[in-house]
Each structure stands twice: as C-alpha cells, then as structure tokens.
C-alpha cells in the first residue's frame, strides 16, 4: 500500500513539473536584479558587501520590501551588463543567487506613445491576438478615398494600387478618410511613434474610388473590387455605401467571394433599420458601430443585414489614427467616427484570422461570429452576432491549425521539452523514439490535409500512446520502487506486449493493427475517445514503420525480411484505418 502511495505521489509530482515547464517562455525583460545574501552570515558582513556595491559599482541596493530583511533579499536597478558585473563581483560566497528580476505582464503592449488613447483596440482584446499573429503575409485592399503614406504608415507594407477616379497608378488620398481607414487596419505599430493598427504586418493595397468630396460611382467601386480580387488581395474593406442596388456591384462582390476574398463593408450611418449597399449583399460582412462603452453608436444602422459590431466611436470618444488634413494635405492625428471606422476593425481581424491559416470567406465569417461577445438583450439586432473580439477570434482560428508554434506547444505540453527528458532519455534509444513521435505527428498532418479535423487533446494523447508512450519514464530507476510501472507507462501500444517482461523483441499481437482496430471499433461512437483511437492508430503506424527500419525483431518471426514485411504491412493498415475512421468527420475544424 505504501509503495502504491509512493508511486502515485511520484507520478503526480512528475506530471506537475512537466505541465509547469515554461521552456522558451523564460526569456523575459528585466530592469532590476535580485541579490539574495545568505542568512547564515553576519549582518555586518552583508552591510559591508552592500557598501562595497554602493561605492565601487555605484549601485544602490534596496530591500525588496519590509518582509525581505529576514531573507536578505536586495534589489538593484540595472540591465544585462549590471547582471554580468554583479556575477563577477566576488559575491559568490556571500549570496545564494543573483538573478534578473523579470517583469511579468499579461501581454506585451506596443510602445506607440498614443496607444493608451486607443480604447477601441483595448475593447476588441487585440493584445491577445498579437500573441499569435500580426497579419504577416496578408493583403488588405482599402477601397476608399486613397491612402497617403503619412509618417505613421512608414513601416507599413504597401502593394501596388490604383486610382479609379483619375485613372492612374498612384492612389493618394485627397480627403483623409482612406488614410484613416488604412491606419486602423495596419498603422505602423511598436515604432515609438503615434498610434497602433490591428494587423500591422499585413500589406495595404490602396484603391481610390471616392473623390476628395467623398463620393464615387458604383462602376468604379465594382472595378476596384475586381482589381483587388485579381491582384491577390485576401481581404477587401469597403467603408462606403449608398441606397442603390446595383447589378455590377453585386457581381463584383460574388467574383471576389469566389476567389476566396473576404469582403467587409460598413452598415451605414443613418440610424435606421437595415444596412446600406454594399453591406447588405450576401457574401459581404456588414459591420455596425459601437461607442466607447460598447453600446450601439447613435448614428449606426442596425437590424437587417448586420453581421457583427465593432468600435466606430461617437462624439464622446472617437477613433484616433494618423491621416491627412484635407485643408492642406499635411499629416495629422485625427479622431473620426462612423461605421466607416468600424468596418476596418473587422477587416484587420479578418486579416489576422487569414494569417492564422483560415482561408475560406465563410469560415472567416463563422469564426468572427462565433468568437464575438454576445449581447444578451438585442431585440433590434444592433450588434449582429455580437461585439468583435480579436483575441478569441485568432485563438479559435489557431485551433485545428498545425503550425510550427502549435508543434512546439504540443511538444511542451507532452513533456518533450523538459530537460529531464533529454537527460533520463539518454539511457534508452532516444533517436528512434523521436522519429516515432515526429512520424506520428507528420502522419496526422497528412491526414488533416484531406479530412480536416480538430487538433484535440484526445488525438495528441492517442498519438503519444501509439507511437512512443511517455518513454522518458523508462529510464527511471527509483529505490524501493518496482521498475515495471515505468516501463509500461513509458511504452507505446506495440511495445506493451514485451514491456512487463522487459525484453526487447516485439510481440506480434501487440505490434500490429489489432489494438488500434479494437480501439476504433470500441470508441467510434464516442465524440472525443474516437480521436484518441485515431491518434493511437497513427501513432502505432509510425512506431511500426520506424521499428521496421531500425529494430524489426519479432517473436517467432526473427528480424529478417518477414518481420520487416509484417511491420510495414501493419503500419500501412493502421494508417488506412485512421484515414477510414476520420472520413465521416465534418469540416468543423
């Protein structure tokens, strides 16, 4: 009983340390350094060292707080160089440790000095989105009054645009509206100047269709939409509208939609029930406006056709961006309001969603809607699906996406980034195990390309169980504890047949398609265990394939061509089984 308790405690402790491993996240910022003097040295000696720091190194050590005196914890302000100096200051004998006093913050805010005035970005939870993506690789077409490269668009990337009003390549702004809209989408951010934009690593395609006085024809706008679709724009922002339905415009919108472009438009500023054109066309995401308190802005249209609500500002709080003063063309920071300002918020977030790997316009829309903050009492449809939430949208988009970041997260969550794994793992054959894990991951990735499914906890557990088990456990030997539980926990499904005996030749019943087949038959009807079964089938496929090359020894079949053939055949069967089982899944990833 005591042994069982010990084993349980040990496993709980190990699991705890694995899940709390911070890995790469440990590289932080610091502005001060912690010095912990030993408690068993005389106070006078600590004082002498403190004086030495003050006089010779010009530092002023302070107790961290009134509670620190007992533990002798002192703080000095300084950077990397100070840290190095301190470590070489001959304090090793007197201190327990000298380390950076890392700054902890929820998310990193950009350094743009006026960022704090952008309540709108705060309201859409943008910093959580920036943790994952800033829109790199995506092009957003701004169909508007043109865009002038004002100073706070200096770092922003542009692609070639067109001026449909004057028929020329340069599409500069002579009004101030388009530049402001472009700023909301991709203002240069973290550049120590001005304000921030939402998808600030995305590219802007400036298309001028509205004259300096703010109007333009549907023919020009329709042509601009087609131009954007033909020139690889991923998102189109239309902060414009009118009352007239137009065939040429609707066809242009459908054309862009067919090409996978997300089209977003402002709902209109008449405070009436139903969105204007083009916002009310199918395949256009229609955006109503919120004020700083997240209520409908007084001017915003609502009701029929509104898909989602985003900050547009009101007299009490406007949207601040860098643009031009229409009077003299000079760059200024101006606060504007309107559904014109709300639409580019959604366009920016759509760019982030696309950068996170979601391509189809319908999927982008469903992520925007699903991630938005629902408004309980909304009988007049002021808000559509709800209030825009960039952070949740991007997180939702990342789910079910296999990215490099994802892979690292998966490695970390499964303990493969733990230093302990590399040390203890040295006692067993490490490289084949790594190959099995990678192999199972790659197989799953292949399968996803054909049958999109969600990347879930149960699937990854299955992959690990099937391919390698928690194999670092196998190298552990603890006094007074039997070793076989570690061997079993550290074995993959194909190795279970020989784990208890501790032999190295595989049992052909376990090292085959049999167990995955049983698991799939047993769990096919269950929502999440099914994915464990599919994952383990892929894991076993990878494990058997790697074994076929490296260590094909099987009971009764030896380690020759028959054993290899048996393993390869079963690996193929496992993959086919996983493919078959995942086929019925809808595209809900």
């Amino acid at each position: 009983m005591k042994k069982l308790l010990l084993i349980s405690l040990f496993i709980v402790g190990l699991a705890f340390s694995l899940f709390n491993f911070k890995g790469l996240a440990a590289q932080g910022d610091f502005e001060s350094i912690v010095l912990d003097f030993r408690e068993d040295i005389p106070v006078a000696e600590v004082q002498r060292e403190l004086n030495h720091l003050a006089q010779d190194l010009n530092l002023s050590p302070q107790l961290n707080s009134e509670f620190s005196s007992k533990d002798n914890i002192y703080i000095v302000s300084g950077d990397k160089n100070t840290l190095r100096t301190l470590k070489n200051a001959g304090l090793t004998e007197e201190t327990e440790y000298i380390e950076p006093n890392y700054l902890y913050r929820a998310f990193k805010a950009p350094n743009d000095p006026e960022y704090s005035k952008q309540w709108n970005l705060h309201n859409i939870n943008i910093e959580a989105a920036w943790e994952e993506t800033k829109g790199n690789g995506i092009t957003v077409a701004v169909i508007d009054t043109g865009v002038t490269p004002v100073p706070d668009l200096k770092q922003t990337k542009f692609v070639k645009g067109y001026d449909f009003v004057s028929d020329r390549i340069e599409a500069y702004d002579d009004n101030g509206h388009g530049t402001h809209v472009a700023g909301t989408i991709a203002q240069s951010t973290d550049n120590n100047y001005g304000v921030a934009g939402i998808a600030y690593e995305a590219k802007i395609m400036p298309l001028k269709v509205l004259s300096g006085s703010g109007g333009g024809t549907v023919a020009d706008i329709a042509e601009a939409i087609r131009y954007a679709a033909d020139n690889d724009a991923d998102v189109i922002n239309l902060s414009l509208g009118g009352a007239g339905e137009s065939k040429i415009m609707q066809e242009a919108v459908d054309y862009a939609y067919e090409k996978g472009v997300v089209v977003i438009a402002a709902a209109g500023n008449e405070n009436r029930n139903s969105a204007s054109y083009p916002a009310r066309y199918p395949h256009v995401i229609s955006v109503s406006a919120l004020d700083a308190a997240n209520n409908k802005a007084p001017y915003s249209n609502f009701g029929a056709g509104v898909d989602i609500a985003a900050p547009g500002g009101s007299e009490a709080g406007k949207i601040l961006q860098n643009t031009i003063d229409p009077e003299n063309g000079k760059a200024v920071f101006l606060g504007f309001q309107g559904t014109s300002m709300a639409a580019p918020h959604v366009a920016g977030v759509a760019a982030l969603i696309k950068a996170a790997g979601i391509k189809e316009p319908d999927e982008v829309l469903s992520i925007l809607k699903e991630s938005s903050r629902k408004v309980e009492q909304d009988p007049l449809n002021h808000y559509g699906a709800g209030q825009l939430d960039a952070g949740t949208a991007v997180k939702l988009a990342m789910q079910g996406q296999v990215s490099f970041k994802d892979f690292f997260r998966w490695l970390r969550e499964n303990g493969y980034l733990n230093p302990r794994f590399w040390i203890d793992g040295g006692t067993i054959a490490l490289l084949p195990k790594v190959a099995m894990v990678l192999g199972s991951y790659i197989l799953a990735w292949f399968l996803r390309a054909y049958f999109p499914f969600a990347w879930s906890w149960s699937l990854t557990s299955g992959l690990v169980a099937g391919s390698s088990g928690l194999f670092f456990l196998r190298g552990l030997y603890i006094f007074d504890l039997p070793q076989w539980p570690f061997r079993v926990a550290g074995s993959s499904i194909p190795e279970l047949g020989n784990a208890i005996q501790g032999t190295s030749s595989l049992n052909p019943i376990f090292a085959s398609v049999a167990i995955p087949a049983l698991l799939i038959v047993a769990f096919l009807g269950h929502k999440s265990w099914k994915w464990f079964a599919i994952g383990s089938s892929l894991g076993v496929a990878s494990c058997l394939a790697v074994n076929a090359v490296i260590a094909p020894e099987l009971w009764g079949l030896g380690d020759g061509i028959w054993a290899r053939g048996f393993l390869v055949m079963n690996a193929v069967l496992c993959f086919a089984l996983a493919q078959l089982a995942s086929q019925g899944e809808n595209k809900t990833a």
């Binding site: 508007d144 009054t145 009004n175 101030g176 509206h177 402001h180 509205l210 004259s211 006085s213 703010g214 109007g215 333009g216 024809t217 549907v218 023919a219 706008i221 902060s239 414009l240 509208g241 009118g242 009352a243 007239g244 137009s246 402002a266 209109g268 500023n269 008449e270 204007s276 054109y277 083009p278 001017y299 249209n301 007299e315 643009t323 229409p326 101006l334 504007f336 309001q337 309107g338 559904t339 014109s340 300002m341």
Partner: protein, 71 residues
C-alpha cells in the same frame, strides 16, 4: 426634385455637407457648391438623387444640386 431645409455639417469621418429637409429626411450633398457650405443656412434646392453614387458618409440619399436659393 425640389427640397427645402437647412444645411448642416455632419461629422462622419472627416465630415460632409448635408441638407436636412423640413420633412426630417437627411440628404448628402454631392460635391456641395461653395454657396451651400454654411451650417444653418435655410435653402431651397433643385436637384436629383444619384442612385449610382456611394459615399463614405452614408447619411442618406445622395443629392446632386443643379440650382439653389437661400430662403
């Protein structure tokens, strides 16, 4: 068509000129003539609605003025 009302500057985006008719309807003035760019001006305007024009202000039907007289 002939509409009488009051000229107003509407603050959508960088702003635009509007005619708020005596009926209460708001019209956006397309390329407002110099003489109409004056808030509070009471006018009678002759013009036509441009269904084929869209604007960033989106405050109502777009009215192209052919002639006007101050009241």
């Amino acid at each position: 068509m002939k509409i009488s009302g009051t000229i107003e500057r509407k603050g959508m985006g960088p702003g635009t000129w509007a005619l708020v008719a005596d009926s209460g309807d708001t019209y956006e003035l397309k390329d407002a003539p110099e003489g109409l760019r004056q808030s509070g001006l009471k006018v009678s305007v002759e013009g036509e609605i441009r269904e084929d024009v869209m604007t960033f202000a989106m405050i109502g039907p777009v009215l192209q003025v052919s002639s006007f007289e101050a009241l």
